[in-house]
């Protein structure tokens, strides 16, 4: 089983169409990885599916970087 970090980075790479090695932990979806607002919504949808959870809108809006996504999943699912 891959770690949460690896799974999150894989999803980010797939959703945003970037290479996995570009997905640095500190990367911002919008500023560093070229996501637009619709991309970020879809990214959260994909994370919800991967981790079989529902992320409330008010939490989802705060997930703007790879690290914040990993932290959210770790805190809420681990």
């Amino acid at each position: 089983m891959s770690s949460i970090e690896e799974r999150v980075k894989k999803i980010v790479a797939e959703q945003l169409g970037v290479k996995e090695d570009e997905v640095q932990t500190e990367a911002s979806f919008v500023e560093d990885l070229g996501a637009d607002s619709l991309d970020t919504v879809e990214l959260v949808m994909a994370l919800e599916e991967e981790f079989e959870t529902e992320i409330p809108d008010e939490e989802a809006e705060k997930i703007t970087t790879v690290k914040l996504a990993i932290d959210y999943i770790t805190e809420n699912l681990a």
């Binding site: 637009d36 619709l38 879809e42 949808m45």
Partner: protein
Amino acid sequence: MSDAGSNDATASDTGKVALVTGASRGIGRAIAERLAGDGFTVVGTATTQAGADAISGYLQEGGYQGCGMTLDVADQVGVEAVVKGITQRFGAPLVLVNNAGITRDNILMRMKTDEWHSVIDTNLNALYRVSKACLRGMTKARWGRIVSITSVVGAMGNAGQSNYAASKAGAEGFSRALARELGSRAITVNCVAPGFIDTDMTRELGDEQRDSLVRQIPLSRLGEAAEIGALVGFLCSDNAAYITGETIHINGGMNMA
């Protein structure tokens, strides 16, 4: 319904799911039958169980896939439950036809707050509710069609219908904004604005009123519900993939822009 030929629906014959609100009779029924004939699995909604049963009945009679469900589009919880139910039973709806609508006519000086709000809530706020509930499936599929049925009254105005005209013009602005949001996902968002169509609603008019209406229409007749169905069917087909943010008028020429 008259048979105007089916669209060359190369994508729509794959059993995609279409949700049509307000489908028990009139224009909504003609749209549901058309989409079903074009190969979509159709879920039609009505506010009453009798309406939902009628939808299941005509779909079954036609040998089509799909069924009727009860839904009040003014009820947020109900909207979410119905979209979830459709997704579980048939798959996520990738076609949404916002057809359910009401009128509460009155001149503004006599209009009650409730008459204003109920029309805005059912005709306009429902677009927010139902469209939003369907977007997850469409963005995931990278394909979608949202068609909202508006009215010639949204463009021309009509005395006694300030609430209705506002709701329909609002729906058109909503659709243009949403078309821009979703274009990159191959989801098109359009409106169809009928003029006077031969339905229960227009049959309630007196002969005199009806005759005076027809005199304003260059094609000298009311429209057929099936003609609206054919246009919506086209907009939902792959042939219409490059049309978005548009309002298509279908009114026999009574209001040419």
